[in-house]
Symmetry: C2
Subunit: 208 residues, 2 copies
DNA sequence: ATTAATAGCATACGATCGTTCGCTAACGAT
DNA sequence: ATCGTTAGCGAACGATCGTATGCTATTAAT
């Protein structure tokens, strides 16, 4: 059924298309990615672009998946090496700020953009974005839970609230950086994160 | 030069088009507003739709302006009756939560959506969004300043930081509500606002 | 050397995009 | 009653959209 020999020739084409789609979507949104413009920027025919995917929506889904993978590599991977709990949360927020204020995507956080773009439309893209953000906020909540269990955050802390606030601040940093090119965006985010994670009355001030 | 007699016949048509554009844009974004679909939903011809504006971009700008006016009426107006300073900030956050979790726009906060949609494109729409959000954050910052002067917030408070965090939380509430239909969105936002405005060590606990 | 499979191209399709053009009704002023 | 003004329509334009179809090279296996 599967001629599994060399998947490299076509696979490179495929990932080239995805990369171009991610770049285009990061700036103008996933809906504005166009087969014709992809073909132009890749110097291919339109048929050659849509061929490996079959449908524009599947190109969008592949681009989204690729952007998620980049997020995971840039934010989760470095933080996953920290101790679970508060220090991992701190590592996440730091890596997240790097990601948001760095040059990862030319047009800002891909997920945030896709969330805003598709929150009013039904479809697979919207569902995928929803699933991903739910999962990520679940990760944040879990780490906050661990931090509470370890006594690194006050016992009465609501982990879901921590997750919500961290995620909201990240959205604020992204907007400040992308729309206003605010150079203080990173510092503002860092301060807010500190305020969220150093809740007054933390039990053991022996952080680390 | 101006036959200023009755501007009502055409003006009603114009505002009907704008209303339809706002509705459409709130769900699918300003770029996805289409002359043809506007004409369909209004049972008019395409020429009749674009006529009063001349250009699609001017329809977008008019829709944006209308949405800004709605925001002002729903959020700023009620809050402007409160005392400047902390109580006005509290009134703003409360009205903002009403606005975000109510039925004002079918597709969530128009400004936030437009900001995400246009932060990667040049043009007048982007500039207008930028100007508006800057202005609004300036209002928040000013009220925080007054609150500091009045001793309602600690003297070392950074008003810009307060404005940034409030705005970020609003973005988080909007996403939680629109993408995830999270019923706790409002409560999460309210809790976060409380945390931001009740900074530990507030000087005069005689709030009002 | 021949064959089978595959990558990608050229072309074309119907739909829809934003915009333009001329026309027709209706209306207000004289 | 006539005439200018104007709101809005019908139709058409070139461009571009997503997608389908067949073909031509190239490659891998026999």
């Amino acid at each position: 059924m599967s001629p599994r020999a060399s998947a490299s020739a076509a696979a490179e084409t495929r990932s080239g298309i995805i990369d171009a789609a991610v770049r285009q979507a990061s700036l103008e949104g996933l809906e504005s990615v166009t087969i014709g413009r992809l073909a132009g920027s890749l110097e291919m025919s339109k048929a050659g672009v849509i061929g490996p995917f079959g449908t524009k929506e599947r190109i969008q889904l592949a681009a989204l998946e690729s952007a998620i993978e980049i997020f995971r590599r840039k934010v989760w991977s470095p933080a996953s090496e920290a101790e679970p709990g508060l220090s991992r949360l701190e590592a996440i927020t730091e890596a997240w700020l790097d990601y948001l204020t760095g040059e990862v995507f030319p047009g800002g956080c891909f997920l945030t953009g896709a969330a805003a773009e598709f929150d009013g439309r039904p479809g697979e893209v919207r569902d995928a974005v929803d699933r991903t953000l739910r999962l990520w906020e679940g990760v944040l909540e879990h780490e906050a839970e661990v931090a509470v269990e370890k006594g690194e955050l006050p016992a009465e802390t609501d982990p879901g609230q921590i997750a919500f606030e961290i995620h909201a601040i990240a959205q604020g940093v992204n907007q400040a950086r992308q729309l206003r090119d605010d150079p203080r965006a990173r510092e503002r985010g860092a301060t807010a994160f500190r305020r969220i994670l150093n809740a007054d009355g933390a039990v053991s001030p022996s952080s680390r």
